[in-house]
Amino acid sequence: MNARIAHIASNTFREAVRDRVLYNLIAFAVLISAAAIFIGQISIEIERLVVINLGLTAVSLFGMVIAIFVGIGLVSKEIEKRTLYTVLSRPVRRWEFIVGKFFGLAGTLVVNTFFMALGVFGALFYVAHRFSGADSSIFIALYFIILQFLIICALALLFSSFSSPLLSAVFAFSLFIIGSFADDLRGFATLAHGLTHWVATGAAYLVPNFSALNVISAVAHQQPISWQLVLQNTLYTLFYTAMALSGAVLVFDRRDLK
């Protein structure tokens, strides 16, 4: 990473911390502690399954909300407040700005996920009183959640490079929801005929495939996750993120900062 990208990323991280984005961890801590105590009292033999399901889903949702709401403001806020003028009038290329912003937000989400993961493991230990070998697959589920964040960050940046924050949020949320049902959309595409088939197939491959990145249920049920899936999802995320960021750069490069 070149130095300017690193400086922009570090400043973006600092902004998130000072704007109290990480305060969501307090809400998460309250939720996971309450859930652990509650589940510990009522569940019979399924505590582990419930805590992993609930904990990882909460990690995903909390992070997704941050990724979208912070992501959509990364560029538009800088344009609106004109803070961008004194950055781009320096030897900083526009693509470096976009990539730096992306890494800054991604870094914030990784740190956020790390602390939430500690909460999930804490709750798991509280209800199960021990860790088992199968619990290590929780790391894979967390890794996939982070991959989802990377995709949604890049998409939020793409949308915020040409539309208003409100519309960007709507687009990003819609893609998150549609992407969560990407497998179903692909299934529907294979069943459809004619124009519908082509439209559905196109849409199914265009939207981010979040369903392939969601292994929470499999991990909770102690089903093995193949390394092939890990590799496939990693490459898919890299490709999708690179495409979305390239789109954001292309749009932003041509944009007049009035």
Partner: protein, 313 residues
């Protein structure tokens, strides 16, 4: 070498929602700013000053034309390391302190880490921002923000400084400080290009000015030259109460006050006037070129552009 050469930069925006129509913000602009000059870019609000500056900074792309800055193509990234820019009504990352902000900008401008701390302290002192350690910019007054803005523009010792309305938001003392700073920058060999609508600042500071209105360049030149060229008149005062007949051929209006007579004639008639007074044995008191203020020149140029627009409409 010219510090800035603007070669036909122009900008047309597309406005409207459904039916887009072109709106020209800047007519093709040709302008040269010499190295080491303090150059004023004057015009009323909406004249095209900020659009020009934004194009030079690469924030807005021109519809046509090009520019050279410090002898290089303006899009050359190396150029940006040698220029400083203060935007109009600057707004910065308000969660940072002034020290953090300048450190960040220093990083982006490539100021070496070992020099950064000293440079930051030095420029903050220079713009009069002291005792502000630990205070976030969100708690700064408008004038303090303006000073921080000037500090970030000169932090990396640029060869060329662009200031968009640098006196805006400053109290009289602050304005004087900024004027002094601009003069110091010139003494250090830097070129300063600043836009303003405060004409007294331009008159006091600038070697040359350009006047722009409605996106069109209306005049450019040294302040003295411009103001002199308005009418080219001289005021002639002599002792006495009478106006010689041959003097009446040179001017239609005479003011007799006590024992002196005053009139205004064209500069090229002053020799004839002196001959008349000598012939009539009248004592000449003074002949002074009438120096119109930059403000009168400015107003005249704007009025002229409005008349032209009205005629052509």
């Amino acid at each position: 070498m010219a510090a800035i050469e603007i070669l036909g930069l122009e900008k047309t925006y597309m406005v409207g929602f459904w039916r887009k129509r072109p709106k020209r913000a800047l007519q093709p602009l040709h302008l040269t700013v010499e190295d080491g000059e303090i150059f004023g870019f004057l015009g009323p609000n909406g004249a095209g000053k900020t659009t020009t500056l934004k194009m030079l900074m690469g924030l807005v792309s021109p519809t046509a034309g090009t520019a050279r800055i410090l002898g290089k193509d303006w899009t050359d990234p190396e150029v940006k390391a040698q220029i400083g820019f203060l935007p109009e009504q600057p707004y910065f990352y308000d969660y940072l302190t002034a020290h953090e902000l300048l450190d960040y900008y220093g990083q982006l401008s490539g100021v070496p880490a070992k020099d950064r701390k000293n440079r930051v302290e030095e420029v903050l002192q220079r713009v009069g921002l002291t005792d502000i350690k630990g205070i976030q910019l969100r708690k700064f007054s408008k004038g303090m923000l303006q000073r921080a803005g000037i500090a970030q523009a000169i932090l990396h010792s640029p060869k060329l400084v662009f200031l968009d309305e640098p006196m805006s938001g400053l109290d009289p003392l602050g304005r004087r400080d900024v004027r002094d700073l601009i003069l110091q920058l010139q003494q250090e060999g830097k070129t300063v290009f600043f836009s303003t609508h405060i004409l007294s600042d331009a008159e006091a500071l600038c070697d040359r000015v350009a006047i722009i209105n409605k996106g069109e360049l209306r005049g450019v030149g040294a302040v003295e030259e411009l103001t002199k060229s308005v009418q080219g008149k001289v005021e002639v005062v002599w002792q006495g109460t009478q106006v010689p007949a041959s003097m009446k051929a040179l001017s239609a209006e005479f003011h007799v006050t006590g024992e002196t007579v005053r009139t205004v004639i064209s500069e090229n008639q002053q020799d004839a006037a002196i001959d008349v007074l000598r012939r009539e044995r009248l004592r000449l008191i003074s002949i002074i070129p009438l120096r119109t203020s930059l403000e009168s020149y400015f107003v005249e140029k704007l009025q002229h552009s409005q008349t032209t627009a009205g005629t052509s409409a």
